[in-house]
Symmetry: C2
Subunit: 321 residues, 2 copies
């Protein structure tokens, strides 16, 4: 399976893949997936080799009805010991619920763009940061890990470019709170690989103590290019969404997260071990498709991996053999 491991990439550390479809994907789906089906699907995901699974969100059930069953899902899933089960926590109330549900990690969100922060979270950045500090303190007291997902780190559809200095400034403020894990999110698919090389390189150089994850969308056909560039910059953790489901309500025309199948396919082509295989993901992907009742955008899901062989045309065999 390990085709063309490029010499430059040999000896690279194992890559961690974080599955975000159960939260970031399902929250965008118009129809509620029954808890029973979600749990069965999550139990399949737990066996596949993920480093982390974002299970659900402890936002208000009124705000995101698709994830209103957060407590029940967390209670019913079978946890694999090697997987980190993370949940989105928007505020102190969410943190209490997430703690009661024994989440391994709180994923906190704010945006590097002031306008997107207002549009998506209905708070100013100062309000979001204050909330984030409050939740971080609660998590630290309870001994729960924290990850901060910084939205629009590669640009905002309303503001345009977000300066790299602003992104690094927010990371510094998170670090001052004791946060040790930050996800740089290309929330609406504005990243390009040159920018990814530069920003991820700078982030890794400036904050060697932070575990950075990269989170890309495939809005403009650059999801794969950005994963490749992030690998070149030294990023070793990636968010991905099975089938490529998900999106962002405040980004017109935005398509989904990079598909887990596509990311794992790319990693495999490059010779990286990530614990997952394209073949292993296929069943979970079929389950997801059946659950949602619509096709999934993943390119590899549609075309199959590059190592899948096809038969020559029948008349060719007849004529030339």
């Amino acid at each position: 399976m390990l085709l063309h491991p490029h010499p430059k990439l040999q000896g690279m550390p194992r890559i961690a893949v974080h599955e975000v479809a159960p939260r970031d994907g399902l929250q965008m789906e118009p129809r509620f997936v029954p808890t029973e089906a979600k749990v069965a699907w999550l139990d399949t995901l737990s066996t596949l080799g993920y480093a982390k699974i974002e299970v659900t969100s402890f936002v208000s059930p009124k705000a995101i009805p698709a994830l209103a069953d957060a407590e029940e899902v967390m209670r019913r899933i079978h946890r694999a010991p090697e997987v980190v089960y993370t949940v989105l926590v928007p505020n102190a109330r969410g943190a209490e619920r997430a703690m009661a549900a024994r989440a391994d990690e709180f994923n906190l969100v704010m945006s590097a763009s002031a306008t997107h922060n207002l549009a998506n979270l209905r708070m100013t950045q100062a309000q979001s940061f204050a909330t984030l500090r409050e939740v971080t303190t609660l998590a630290q007291q309870a001994g729960v890990a924290v990850n901060v997902s910084l939205s629009c780190a590669f640009g905002c559809p309303m503001e345009g470019d977000v300066p790299a200095a602003a992104v690094l400034h927010w990371v510094e403020r998170f670090a001052e709170l004791g946060v040790q894990a930050v996800t740089l999110c290309d929330t609406t698919g504005m990243a390009d690989p040159g920018q990814v090389l530069a920003l991820c390189g700078a982030a890794l150089a400036c904050f060697p103590g932070i575990a950075f994850t990269a989170h890309f969308h495939d809005t403009r056909g650059l999801g794969g290019a950005n994963v490749f560039a992030a690998l070149q910059a030294g990023i070793t953790r990636f968010d991905a969404s099975l089938g490529g489901i998900g999106g962002c309500p405040y980004a017109p025309g935005a398509s989904g997260n990079v598909a887990t199948e596509d990311v794992v396919h790319l990693l495999t082509c490059l010779g990286h071990d990530c614990g997952l295989t394209v073949e292993g993901l296929a069943d979970a992907s079929r389950l997801l498709r059946a659950m949602l009742g619509h096709d999934l955008p993943s390119a590899v899901g549609r075309a199959g991996p590059r190592w899948q062989r096809h038969e020559p045309p029948v008349d060719l065999v007849r004529t030339f053999r």
Copy 2:
């Protein structure tokens, strides 16, 4: 428009974009586009900044009815002096027709995969190479430029991996005939960016006298990644197909060529000048869509460029301003 030019990429030469939709794209379309419409569309393309346009194919009209009007199209288009008008030439008969039509360049095709060569061209590689030699001699006698497009340079859907040594061997044989331009074609979207770095890097290093073009498909979500890797390897010429139309009949599940809009968007993001703009392509893309009567796969055509601003939600403006 020049966003985030990465320092590594600054000072790079101007990138040449070759439009292949009129030949490589249209030949796959089920319905015949009237000659009048083709010519009007080609005349629009000629004004946009392309280095080269693949106008049509001088294969047998019976084999590809979609391009049966090759002579008439070549006669009626208005040529821009700075654009190279290339045509596909399969054999000596095609070369005579292409010369009569005053093509600037003959684009000859053979495959790096023996099986794909048989399937696609119905000839062995030895037969194809003999034909190629014959046509190259005719072109040289007539003072017409030649480009060889080497299919399956990054893998074959039937054979699997094609060794880099085999690809370089074919380039050497073309060079021995006096060929000065070779396109490395990822005919069915099997290339990955690590392989592209390695193979394009080796080709450029081994054959400094050859003008290499890279030709990618977006079958597995890696079109953009492969263009980025090819740029890093030093490739400065790219085939692309407006709207992302095209494909390959002998590659099940294969999707189209990388879309010109997507490639130009990527080049612009990286700070490369290619003479084209995403905005300039939009009219030609709309014309193509109307001509074909179906949507086009281009991601940037759908989502718009990253620098396109969106308004914040109306209620946000009301609440916070």
